[in-house]
Every structure is written in C-alpha cells, then in structure tokens.
C-alpha cells in the first residue's frame, strides 16, 4: 500500500509538500528527505524525487533485521524435514567412539560412576545426543550414576536429565543427585578431597560416603566452558590419581582437551558431531527396549545442520569476499608499481 501511494505521488511532479498523514497511516514507516521540496525532471529521465521516494519507502530497521532472521528460521524448519545426510566420521572420530565404548563395556555391574554435568546451554544441543547415549549405555551396563554440577547452567541440564532418567525408571539405588556445588574449581577440589558430603541420602549415597571418591570406577565429564575435562585433569587427577576420566565435549573445546587425550590423562574423548552420532547409533542398536538403559532419541537432523552451514558459508563469503578481493587487488597493484 505504501509503495503504490508513493508511486502515485512520485508521478505527479512538481509536487507540493505532503499533507499531514491520516490517523490510519500514522504507523507507517517514515520516508527520508520528506521535508525537502521535490524537484522537477525532464521526460525520459528518472526524476530525482522519484528516486528519493523509492529509497524512502524502505522498511524500518527492525523489520529489515527481522525478515532475514524469520526467513532463516522458516528455511531451517523446512530443512529439518529433509531426510538424513550422513555426517562422515573420520578415523579419529571412529577411534574416539571405540574408546568410549570400551570404557563403558569394561565396567563391572554395579560400578559407581561419577557424572559431571557441566555443559553450556548454548553448546549442549551439540552433545546432548551423545550424552544421553552414554548415560543409557552406562545404565544398561549396570553402572550406578552419581550426577553433580559445578556451574548453574550445568545444573539446569542435570535437572532435566535426572528427571528424564527417573521417568525411565532409574530409582535412587541407581541414580544419585549430588546437586549443584558452588565455587567452581574450588568445589571440584572439595569434592575430590572430602567426598560427596553429608547431604545426599539413599543406599548409593551411603556406600559412596563410606568408601570416598576413590570408590568411583569412572568419572564421565560432560564439559562446557566453565568446568570441563581440563579442570578435572588439573584439579581431580592429582588428588585422586586412580579415577579414570572420560569426557564428552562440544567441538569448540577439542583443541584445548585433545592433548590430554593424547597423553592418556583422559581415557576417552568424544567431541565432534560425527563421533557423537556414530556413538549414539551404536548405543541405540544395542540399547535396552525399556528401563533406564533405553535410548530412543532421534538423531540430530543433519539436513538442517548442513543447510545452516551452507547459509553461514554463503553469508561469510558474500560479506568478506569483496573486501578481500579489493585488498588483493590493491596489494597486486602496489607490488606492480
């Protein structure tokens, strides 16, 4: 409606300043240079007034910013229905999956496992599939889990996961909530030194309190930016050297924690989306049909992920390509002169 009115206005040159808007048009976007007198033009040329008005009918910045975001959301929603594209697992991904599987399979029945749930809400979606697979695999193997968090976001994730596992039938004898411990790495040191403390209750808590942190057969660290495998290797391993540490981390943490896997301080490390998917598929294939070991999560939709990647690549190249080309051109001409 705005455009047609403006077009009509533009055709009538020369033009008087516009009358005040009607009340129903008051909410329409302002046109730029509205107050300036409009100019005349010769036939066959694009009148400057028309040009200005055409530019002046731009949408407001909020709407202009919202349209691409909305379009992206709609396209991603459509892309999520695209059937799966296989995310290729490299050799190191396959090795990481084998490591974690071997660690879980090697646990004896009833082994207590300490799970540190400290993912970030921003990056947890990347590792949620693998994390749930690991929890299901541990419970299917007969391990008893004690879940602890040292970051508020990790606690939020832990609350949701504990509720989910309780819903699947994990009772207090199989699943112990050690809660949130404030203090960051100092709290980690406290856990390593003083154990689970007096607050947790139940048969599993009693057994763990009696035997201390050293009675855990494995620590599975679901890492995030605040507390992750690095904190565990630095703070817990020197104090409880016999506790093996395995980790599932988002890929942004990999460069930081890969050396620990290389040195053997982490006995397993799953950290890329292809590895997560490969591990989850293996657990799903052997998972229990019911009970806490059930793992029936849908695999993350790789179609939507690939689509998002393509959009990002297009935007990045479109935005930076011109600048880089100009820079290269200038550098080339400078070198020639």
């Amino acid at each position: 409606m705005t455009e047609s009115r403006d077009q009509q206005d533009a055709d009538k040159a020369p033009e008087l300043p516009e009358p005040p808007k009607a009340p129903e048009q008051a909410g329409e976007p302002e046109t730029i240079d509205r107050a300036e007198p409009l100019e005349t033009s010769e036939a066959g040329e694009t009148p400057p007034a028309e040009e200005r008005l055409r530019r002046g009918t731009r949408l407001s910045p909020a709407v202009r910013a919202g349209i691409p975001a909305l379009a992206l959301m709609i396209l991603l929603a459509i892309a999520s229905f695209i059937p799966g594209i296989d995310l290729t697992a490299s050799g190191s991904d396959a090795a990481a999956v084998r490591d974690l599987e071997a660690v879980v399979t090697g646990l004896p029945g009833g082994a207590p496992v300490l799970v540190d749930m400290d993912g970030d809400l921003g990056t947890y979606p990347e590792i949620r599939y693998a994390t749930r697979a690991a929890l299901a695999d541990l419970l299917r193997q007969g391990a008893n889990l004690a879940i602890v968090s040292f970051s508020p976001e990790g606690r939020a994730i832990a609350v949701a996961e504990i509720a989910r596992l309780r819903g699947l039938g994990a009772g207090p004898d199989r699943l112990l909530d050690l809660g949130f411990r404030s203090g960051g790495e100092a709290a980690l040191v406290q856990l390593a030194g003083s154990g689970i403390g007096p607050n947790p209750t139940g048969p599993l808590a009693d057994a763990l309190r009696k035997n201390g942190v050293g009675s855990f057969r494995l620590a599975l660290v679901i890492g995030g930016a605040d507390i992750g495998p690095r904190s565990w290797v630095e703070q817990v391993q020197p104090r409880v050297p016999d506790l093996p540490i395995a980790a599932i981390t988002p890929s942004f943490l990999l460069p930081e924690v890969l050396p620990y896997r290389g040195s053997g301080q982490l006995i397993a490390l799953v950290g890329t989306l292809p590895a997560d998917l490969a591990y989850g598929k293996q657990v799903a294939a052997k998972g229990a049909a019911f009970g806490p070991g059930t793992f029936t999560d849908r695999t993350p939709n790789s179609g939507a992920i690939v689509f998002g990647m393509l959009v990002a690549i297009a935007v990045l190249l479109a935005s930076s390509g011109g600048s880089l080309a100009g820079w290269a051109r200038a550098a080339w001409s400078g070198a020639r002169s």
Partner: protein, 204 residues
Amino acid sequence: MRRSIAAALTALAGLVVLVDLAIANPALSGFAGWLNQLLVLLAAGAGVAGALMLVVRHVARLARREDQLGSVAVLLGIGLVLLPGLAPGSTGADAPAVRWVVAALLAPLIAAVLALLFPLMLVAAARGLRIRPRETALMLTAAAAVLILLLPIGGQVGSWLTATAAWVRDVPIAAVFRGLLIGVAATGALTAARILLGSDASYD
C-alpha cells in the same frame, strides 16, 4: 605492616595448598581442605553480595523511575528463582519448585538468548567489516573455509575434506591452543611465584 600481613597470609595459604599436593600428611591435608572450604564460602559470599548489589541497584532505579520495565523484570526474575528455595518447608536448591523454575524458566530463557548467537555473529561480522575490513574479511574467510571443510560431502572429495578438517584441528589449531595454554600456565606460575614471594604489586 598491613601489606606484610596480607602478603604473609596469601603466601602461607598458597604454600599449604602447594605442599599438600606434594606431601601426604593428614593434618596438612585437613588444613588445606579447610582453606579450600573458605575459598568456596568466599565464592558463595561474592555471589550473594553480587545479587544484593543487583537488587539495590534496580530498586534505586525504580525509585528514580529509570527504565522501570527492565528493573521490574530483573527483580521479578530474582524473586521467582529465590522464593521457591527460601519458602518455609522448602529443601533449598533441590526443592521440586526450584527444579521446576530452573527447568521450565531458566534453561529455556538462557537457551533462547544463546539461540541468537548466529544472527548476532552475522551482525558482529558486518560491523567488523565496517571497522576493520581487511582483518575481519580474513577472519571470516578462514571461518568459511573451516565450515567448507566440515561439510558432509560423500565420496572421495568428502573423505579428503574430512581428513583435512581433522588435520587442521589437530595440527595448526591445536598448536595455537597449546601455545596459548603454555603461555597461560607460565604466566600463572610466574604470578603465583610473585604472590608467594610477596613481590606482587597488588599489595602496594
């Protein structure tokens, strides 16, 4: 005198924790554990003080009638999280109401904010291109290259891309990170040594 007491206390605490790592002694271990407990309490106290300051600041803004909507939202949010845990009969952080608030309110809100990361990064890239076009363009091209390497393309090209992505992650990126970590560790050790020796400028 004040400087000496602070420096001596800091050095003593640091040395106790350091020696506790090297020597297995129950008494020393107990003392180091007690010091660590103090640190945890200090962190909790800092958290409480921060929350109180936030409340004071926003109450003051409400009194001055500045950004009332924002201040009301902050105070309401604080109340929604605190009240279920502090209500009579509540078991604190593990109370079902607190769990519900965390799972149904806090987690979705934080996740929603983080979901804006992608468009915000694009906006930041656009601004970066305006301010420092060459450097930002180089950075964005590198980001695009990494994304291209991670694309799940099948066949021989896909295998090559996957192998290259793994190499880029394991060699150049890992090298930079190791360098950073070693630098951080060296700086940390140096700062710790200065504190333990009482020559840190922060006491002046």
